[in-house]
Subunit: 419 residues, 4 copies
């Protein structure tokens, strides 16, 4: 949680309305049933996301800071608390898909209830509460990406392969050749340090020492991934971390998630349905284990978080292929050009850095301090943003994190190399 954010009340109410509206728009193509099912324990039903983000505002802002607020339903916090131990018992994560009731309509009414109360109170909120609204909006933006991830995961379970937002495939171009871009060296500052909003785990800003290295100027493509596969990438243990190889063997992994063998070659399932794999687009839905194995096979490595962040400082974090409105999301072919490209947008980029606290890290006070700090074991950092990340949500210091076997997020990779 940020400590320095200073949101003005007007903007806040306006942003609140806009961000809350986008969540509904993302859910718009879904039936009540679509929004109810849970494809696996890591992914939540869309209804649950819509309700949980409302619970966040209701609990941390309205209940704690708005006198006289009446909760929508006393029994719902049990249903829609995610993992905040400080807020008590809750529906087990793996059983969120059992909630056919409340209905989607009831949950939308819950959103209206919370939104009205919050907008009415917005002008009078104390500073601490405005900070929590800001946190809640960033939280909601994270859940917008999770909704897209989890909708995709849910429809991927359906043998009918329904397209959520049918769309013509992009006209195929070719990705330009990869070139190396020299990274910054010596003592470099990373981490968040300004007055704008950032999550607690992004700071404090601190110095790190970087050695000579270069970063690829674009992301790895599906075409390059197909070569890795053709050369036995998934069959040769020497490319893989030990845990990664065990994961490949135990799960019969042979391609990125959502790839299927079709008559005319590999296809990939997306929010726009089942399409042939486009060789020029960035590869997406690969795990850390896969990204790491690819990099070894390519004679390279993944960047560290510091290297990536140092290179991204000064670039426009809203300048890429990110989410602008509800609709299909798809990584785009890299344009030709002189500089590092695809830094923000398209796919999250695995780094070889574990998600651990920065020197001097202190979690936010209170229950919202459970937001990031308690997840600091066993996960790797991803940097940048994806085509499913709301535009304006990103920055160079942003630290996304997943376990090394996970790949239902929009994740790909960029190579790095020592010099």
């Amino acid at each position: 949680m940020a400590t320095q954010v200073r949101p003005r009340a007007d903007d806040l109410a306006e942003r609140f309305r806009a961000i809350r509206r986008l969540s509904r728009e993302i859910a718009a193509p879904l039936s009540d049933a679509d929004a109810t099912i849970q494809p696996h324990p890591d992914a939540s039903p869309t209804k649950w996301h819509l309700a949980h983000t409302s619970w966040f505002f209701e609990t941390f802002v309205l209940r704690d800071h708005v006198c006289g607020y009446r909760p929508f339903d006393e029994r719902w916090p049990y249903l829609f608390n995610s993992y905040y131990e400080g807020e008590g018992e809750r529906q087990p994560r793996a059983r969120r898909g059992m909630l056919s009731r409340p209905s989607l309509d009831q949950i939308l009414a819950y959103r209206d209830h919370v939104d009205s109360a919050l907008v009415a109170a917005a002008g009078d909120l104390p500073f601490a509460a405005r900070q929590l609204v800001e946190l809640g909006l960033n939280h909601e933006e994270q859940h917008q990406e999770l909704m897209l991830m989890d909708m995709l995961a849910a429809f991927a379970e359906n043998p009918l392969a329904p397209a959520i937002w049918p769309q013509e495939p992009e006209v195929t171009g070719a990705a330009p050749a990869i070139r190396g871009v020299r990274g910054r060296i010596g003592l470099v500052e990373i981490g968040h340090g300004g007055a704008d909003f950032a999550f607690d785990c992004e700071g404090p800003r601190h110095q790190v020492f970087l050695r000579p290295h270069e970063l690829a100027d674009r992301l790895i493509t599906n075409g390059e991934w197909l070569r890795f596969m053709a050369e036995g990438g998934y069959e040769r243990p020497d490319h893989w971390l030990s845990d990664g190889w065990a994961w490949v063997q135990a799960n019969g992994i042979e391609a990125p998630l959502y790839w299927r063998r079709g008559e005319g070659g590999w296809q990939r399932f997306g929010l726009d349905g089942l399409r042939p794999v486009n060789e020029a687009e960035p590869v997406c839905h690969v795990s850390y284990y896969e990204a790491d194995a690819f990099a070894r096979w390519a004679g390279a490595r993944l960047p560290t978080e510091s290297e990536w962040e140092a290179a991204a400082q000064g670039l426009d974090p809203a300048g890429g292929n990110q989410l602008d409105s509800a609709g299909p999301v798809r990584p785009k072919i890299a344009a030709a050009g002189p500089a590092p490209r695809q830094t923000f947008g398209d796919v999250w980029q695995w780094t070889m850095s574990a998600f651990l606290p920065y020197p001097g890290f202190r979690p936010a006070e209170g229950t919202v301090g459970e937001y990031n700090g308690k997840f600091m074991s066993g996960q790797f950092v991803l940097k940048g943003a994806s085509c499913a990340t709301p535009r304006g949500h990103s920055r160079a210091s942003y630290r996304n994190f997943f376990y090394p076997h996970q790949r239902w997020q929009f994740s790909g990779l960029r190579l790095a190399r020592d010099l």
Copy 2:
């Protein structure tokens, strides 16, 4: 499958319409989302039942016997085949809850499509096809009971404990004292032998030799079960089968399924919501392990299938508390009276007989021969009928079967004793 059934075409079309209508009425209180979720791998979504029963007619009658029939959707048999290996690959049983699409409306349209085709063809069906229609209707009646079981299982997962058919509790009476009724002895004929419909596993009719015994004249009640619990029934291994005790320990079993501790004592969740346990009603939702342990604790035993069937021959199988129309189902308090009561209706009654083939058993020809015969290992027979069994579906020779740990069916017990 029956070999002797001779359904007349007129009656068949009429019965077809009535039975098909009841399935829709049972599903009527459910939203699309309610009808989509799968609470555990043994229980299927309501939508799936509605579609699967239609697939049965479409496949075995319309496709195989009606020239020019056009299937509703070529891709749906994959979704709605249950376990017929002869019909090819299918959606894995444990993943039936992923089918948010097709929607409930689409599945109702599928039913209309099949119903129209079948009613149109009914007059011209050859004998073999009319037999398959009869089989399909009995199959659908079985799924009506499964729908009620699985709806209950699904709503029991919801922390809000919604009542599907809210209803006032029965005015509490008292169950009459149990009396023993002497059973038939010596050589007795059991199994189905007449010209009416019966499933293949109910025959051939054959002789068994019975020794002196008596059967309780009514079912065991919740009050009697509470005494079993109060005397440490779930805590003392000496009452239990070895597998049963392991099941109790591994799952923390301490009461019948759907019982919950409330402030004023034990409650039970049902299709009418959460209610105090009524001591006079028959106990329901107990496993074979529990029924067997109760019987040992009571110094008695469960009846054998033969004993039960011999006693039930001649009783009216439609004369008890069975399903007449969509609505709440509930076992009823035994009336006072001189004869065996609660034989058909209220709850299925565990017997101590394994579900095995009768002497001379031959499965039906073709894929429908997978209906019963391939389940003949590891399961126990239950006799009678329950409050969720469609009236008219029962007979003395009926053989229901479940694994000894299962209890989401409407199952209870009647005691027996050697003389």
Copy 3:
């Protein structure tokens, strides 16, 4: 437990010494380490068998009936109680292989201690205690077969495939053609009824009604099994019970247990090491699921327990290929001849009857009543005896039982057919 056994003291002491000696001889080729390991939770270490059988006499005879007996070690009953809940907590079954101590030598000293005390007391034992000695001897004979089963299971885990008792293979003959033998029909008495020892579950003697049928005059051979395999026996679901097919799929079953593909064809691992499969010998180490599938494929069925027992009454139960002394055990090729052969010895024969109580069954009083009764769910009866069953331990009424997926016992099959 038998109620009618009247063992004379003299014979008892003599038999006691002989039977106890055989257990030691069976274990003789094993090192301490060989006797310690546990290949899977169903199989126990040899050391454990040697100690458990001694614990049985120590607990139920010496402790309960011999004044002044001093237990060998107060802490050992925890280690060597098998499943008697009435005797308290015990080492978890799946962790019996952790007992590197006590050593094999210490356990042999335990046996000496128990044997001396029992032989010293034998002349003065009351009748009830002599019955328990008789039970203990039959119990020990059962464990002698278990020791051979479990030693085989343990060495089968060793990639070096050590031969416990190396032996030349039998000169290959041919099995005679199978002929059908008509079984007894009408009312027939089965179950144990005499004054000799029998386990409690073998009685009471009672009447059953049998229909016309015939039994094969010999066991199914490896050669016949190879034909089943060659014709897709393990690949076609229509031969299999539903649970059996799931078991085949989940475990990749493609041949009897201990069969391995070698360069020159199938081999089987036995106590005499790795040998080519002998086509004329009875097939061994098949599960109920496999036996049942084979019978369907052959257009036949397995016998019922009653049919088998009725046919075996009057045959010499000690007249076949059973265990006479420690050494390699192996099913033998059927001799030519006019009558049913291989009834006792060679392999246990799966029946299609579930292991359930006979009419009027009462478990033995006290903790030894846990011996059989509590296992009466989910298991099938096997009749006869195997080449690993001590000669003299068998009779027509004997009821062996295993779960339908188990096959580390010496189990095969004989076909039956309705007439």
Copy 4:
């Protein structure tokens, strides 16, 4: 693997003999059975360690570098390869406890065979082979510690709680109060850089930037851990990482590994048997999750690897309580004194750093390159040495690593704090 090590031939042979001898001495109290069992999949049988370390020399030195060497047994590499994919298929790790054969004596003969061949060849080995001998000796020293860990794990499974090396408990003193020692700040060099042996993962030497901090001058004691427990340390989720709390809940964790409730308070099982917990001794056998939770509860944190290593540079790595010879191992009470104490010896110290490659890391060439690099995901670094680490095996740059839930190693903690 080191690239700069220059072992002289004479010393090497001498060290070879001494180190190889110590392994046998450690195993001396064990019977063949003791040395055969495998308590859990992470721990290997002692016999396996004795053979695997010999296989390492046989494979990478004798087979690859000594002309005419004849392997001891062609079938054994399958049994004793650990995880080197480059060396082919091997006995599954979780089934190492099935190897009752080869016997302990045969494995000791294997050791003699390898030792003779290696000592005979030692004078003529090329440089690369001498490097591999050096690697093999360091490998063997690691397995000496593993042997002690795994022996303890094995005997801890035995309800008789046998003491391997019985020993009187230390006279109880008191640990001095903890004082903070300021750490080095700014740019600091860490990692191995000299000519002595080091594992590949310890380099390259590189600069890191450290902020102001202090380290505790001694390890956390059992007494301090008991206070953590008394204040609900294992019951309050707010102290714990999310994964850690899930681990506590799923496994019912309530104390360090090998602690047991006794009548007079907590006891701990060790190689010297079952003893009361000594409050002044360093706590041992705690997981990363526990160490991290303790640090939070104490208002502190764990050190980073860099902080720890910077503080340890210049200290004598052989100056603490490490393994000198076979016998009981036990962490010792901290002496009073002015400087950081217990840096090397007593217990491995969890750091908050993930085990990841240093900048510029390159795995060793060939199969031995699988030694460390492929384990670089999901694990945390531990620094120092334990009472079970052979003296002389340690250095400041040493990187030990385990998963955050593991605790059968001799692991404890030292606190750190930001300034």
